[in-house]
């Protein structure tokens, strides 16, 4: 761990003005950032603690959606009545993540910006392009159980570890950000990036930009949804593969389909072409299988993670089936519905 300054602003303007240097980090719950500092992976010059900013509310929007402040803890968000009733997919994804203690500390903004769990990224004794651009990717040809099967590059094969973000991708959330230069919104699909040749950048956030809120559109998929997470133990493990599935059925026919995958790519993975395939059809395992095949057509394993391709196929079919049956995976239930 390096030496660093610590600031605790109480207004947004002050926070933004303190964070103009790229070596400054915003500190929210600290559940990821502090770990990375202890491992010497993150070496900020200064921490700007944002926990005293007024970003802890959930508000209704005029469009009929919700605006979730960046500081709303994962635990509170998962249990908020407006979320459990209207966006149960989001609640479910949150509850699938981490542990109760971590969810108490973790925030909405921090969850969005948590970094990959790639073993090599965490170990400064190994080369890693994400940690040290240009040093190489030690994961390729190494231990790749956690790694991507979609959208990887020769520079980085890491995955984004969040569960919450998979649901937000399916729900087509919008991210509100602010910096000393002004504010903007970013569509969820454009928020995280693929690694390409700049894997050091996880997201399209510019240095100094602060996430202030995540906005949910009105369409909430409160009947036909499911978040299915497959992992190495029953709880408290990152997803090997997870699927957020949401359907709108009209007269037994799929009118709208949303599907996002976690644990398989550098960002929550969506494939709109594949989603379109089921539109106008009756829900069924065969149709879902075709969707899965389309999504996974370009999938490539790295060795250890080859199993994720068949696993993802099965998970997609199952999650869509759960959604169609209105039998969402309950996170307190160990049996898969």
């Amino acid at each position: 761990m390096n030496r660093f300054d610590y600031r605790r602003p109480s207004t947004l303007a002050e926070a933004l003005s303190l964070a103009t240097d790229p070596a400054v980090r915003y500190l929210a719950g600290g559940t990821n950032l502090i770990d990375l500092m202890k491992e010497d992976v993150e070496r900020p010059l200064s921490l700007v603690d944002v926990n005293h900013l007024p970003l802890g509310n959930i508000e209704d929007t005029v469009e009929g959606g919700l605006k979730i402040g960046a500081l709303v803890p994962n635990a509170d968000l998962a249990r908020a009545a407006r979320i459990t009733q209207r966006y149960p997919l989001l609640s479910s994804a949150l509850l699938a993540g981490a542990s109760p203690q971590l969810r108490n500390a973790a925030t909405t903004g921090g969850n969005l910006l948590q970094r990959t769990r790639c073993y090599y990224f965490y170990d400064v004794a190994t080369p890693c392009n994400k940690r040290e651009p240009g040093s190489g990717c030690q994961a390729i040809g190494g231990l790749t159980r956690q790694h991507a099967i979609l959208g990887a590059s020769e520079h980085c094969i890491a995955t984004h570890p969040s569960d919450m973000c998979v649901a937000l991708a399916a729900l087509q959330a919008v991210v509100h950000v602010e910096s000393a230069r002004g504010s903007r919104t970013i569509a969820f699909e454009d928020f995280h990036r693929l690694p390409g040749d700049t894997p050091e950048r996880d997201s399209n956030l510019e240095p100094g930009e602060l996430v202030t809120a995540v906005e949910l559109p009105a369409e909430s998929f409160d009947i036909h949804y499911s978040y299915l997470k497959l992992r190495d133990r029953q709880s408290y493990a990152f997803a090997l593969v997870s699927v957020a599935a949401a359907l709108r059925l009209e007269d037994g026919i799929v009118a709208e389909a949303r599907l996002a995958l976690g644990g398989v790519a550098h960002k929550p993975w969506r494939d709109r072409e594949a989603e379109k395939q089921v539109l106008g059809q009756a829900p069924g395992r065969e149709a879902f299988g075709r969707v899965a095949d389309t999504i996974l057509a370009g999938a490539r394993g790295q060795g250890d993670n080859d199993f994720k391709i068949p696993l993802a196929r099965r998970a997609i079919v199952r999650a869509l089936d759960q959604a169609a049956r209105a039998a969402p995976q309950r996170q307190v239930e160990k049996r898969i519905s």
């Binding site: 761990m1 030496r3 190494g142 709880s235 696993l311 199952r318 049996r335």
Partner: protein
Amino acid sequence: MKEMKSQTLQAQEGRNAGFGTALSRVDGAAKVTGQAKYAAEFTRPDLLFGVVYTARIAKGKIKRIDTSRALAMDGVVDVLTHENSPRVTHFDLKLKDMSAPTVGHPFRALDSDDILYPGQPIALVVAETLEIARAAARLVDVDYEWQDFETDLKRATPFVPKVPGVGERKPKSRGKAEAAFASSPVQITGDYHLMPEHHNPMELFASTVFCEDDGRLTIYDKTQGVKNSHCYICNAMGFKRAKVRVLSPFVGGAFGSALRPQYQLWLAALAAKKLERSVRVVMTRQEMFGHGYRPECYNRIQLGADDQGHLKAIINSAVTGTSSYENYTESIVSWGGMLYQCDNAKLDYQIARVDTATPCNMRAPGGATGTNMFEIAMDELAYASNVDPLELRLRNYAERHQLKDRDYTSKALRDCYQRGARKFGWEKRSPEPRSMREGHELIGWGMATGVWDAMMAPTSVRATLHADGSLEVGTATADIGPGTYTMMTQIASDATGIPVERITAKLGDSDLPFAPVEGGSATAASAGTAVQKACHALMKQVLEQANQLENSPLSGARMEDVDLVGGRIQLSENPAQGMSFSEVFTAAGLDSLEAKKFGRPRMTRKARNTHSAVFVEVRVDEEVGMARVTRVVNAVAAGRIINPKTARSQIIGGVVFGIGMALEEESLADHRIGRWMNHNLAEYHVPVNADVPDIDVIFVEEEDHEASPIGVKGVGEIGVCGTAAAIANALFHATGKRLRDLPITIDKLVTD
């Protein structure tokens, strides 16, 4: 001495404390309220903090180590490296701690420029605060010279260890196994594999060394044996034994990893010696992957049987990993050969060098690996010979220890099978794989046998009775979690009739009478026997004192004439006639009485073992391969149970270990760079609450005063043995897939 009549006493708060009482932990309140202090929690104002810098290469030399930037930081006191550390002993023998392998050169931190394994400590940054030490540690700059290395056991060269090390008697073959196998109508051959496992106890390894004004050292160490740490560190550093005291009042789990003194003790002592100041060194979780672990194992098992499943041949050969500098060995292949009636057994065991730290004992070392693999093989034989797995074990049941060809002091394994099966409902099992399901889930029922040693080691205890009637019993053993404080208190209460509230157990202090390391499930039998002996001797003294008093109500009474009840000694025939201990002390003008006794195992040629029968239900989602354990019944025969509550906790803990071994735990190395990579608790998976179902523990008590004088065999490790196999076997029953590679993770279940 004649067994003393003891009373199950009704203590003031209604707490019974005799043998077999479910007494709650006497240190429980201290633990849950944070009063119990661990090695890293002792502090003084002048304490320095040492932070370790570990090698970033797998093997080679330190070409250059530059500590100038670290030293330049305000608050940094010193950076110890091989270039500036005080000289330590050069005799290997002096560094052979009680748990060291017999062959090899024990590791010496900061002793040379050699890097023997990845994660080896190569510098210690010492500063006025932990934060400064940590910040400065990242400024250490090292140039390395890489040397060829191998961390992959698969590619290492096995050899037969010439002098067997700790725990390994050369496995004894019998008969003509190869010929018998060839002519057996039913044959199975399986190649089993276990990934390396790290212990990952909750408490981080820590040592706090206080330099006292008079030149003495007081050391708080995370250890399973203070005498071991004491002897080792004095030998290593040339400290006078009388000037060093090692304490370890509480240990937050160890599972064998603290049997050998770990390098933080060495480093803290080295820094204290050099700087003549008090120093604390705490390892990080990541650094705890840089010491001992349960070695990887490749194990081929071939079983031949007649068409009724009677074993005709056992051929078993295994290889485990050791380091480049010590020969660490385990008993892997003996268990199957010992457990089942079979005239022909060929047992071979080899080790192979990998460039890691020397592996070390981890809960049921050898047994957890060996029994679980053998019991999967037995399950394969059950299907191959079309005999129910439980019935197969009964058909091959051995009344005598098959390796030693000796009787057992006791072996109630048959009762374990029977009671376990009944409780589990085994007779309702449908034999075919994939034949039980509910909805999307395949259900599997599997079982296995567990076996482990019933060990006992010489231990000395001092018992002191004070004039106020309070009793103290002390020995330098440890309490790494099983409840040693409670066990000692309970046995003392049983032997003296003194209520538990008036008894203090002392341990974890090198000034106390000798005890070996707490390991091998031996402490209850060892320290327990010595506590009982010392207490009996003490009570005899009390009675002698009472005898001599003028007008003594106990005059002429012998031990067999009296009862000890609630701090009183009274005639059995006439309980009203007696004296309280305080009355005796007052009348005799005594402050205290003391007895010190040595407990030893009884001489016997018989084999001493614990046994168990484990029954498991698993459920596997057929489509996505998520598996979970939904029921466990573990029936254990381990002699007499002192405390069913703490004993049950031991078995539960063992079963949880078994779940980890079967489904989750594996230390993953990148063999291209020779580093453990999942070196944290987010990525090294141990079972969490959600993975652990209700566990049904049955104790089948054995009346056995040959295994140990107090009839106790020990329960710390038997819970792991067999459990992982029962899970793997249940998975086969559920899915029809025979998986021989542990842990069985989802990838193995989901792919064909």
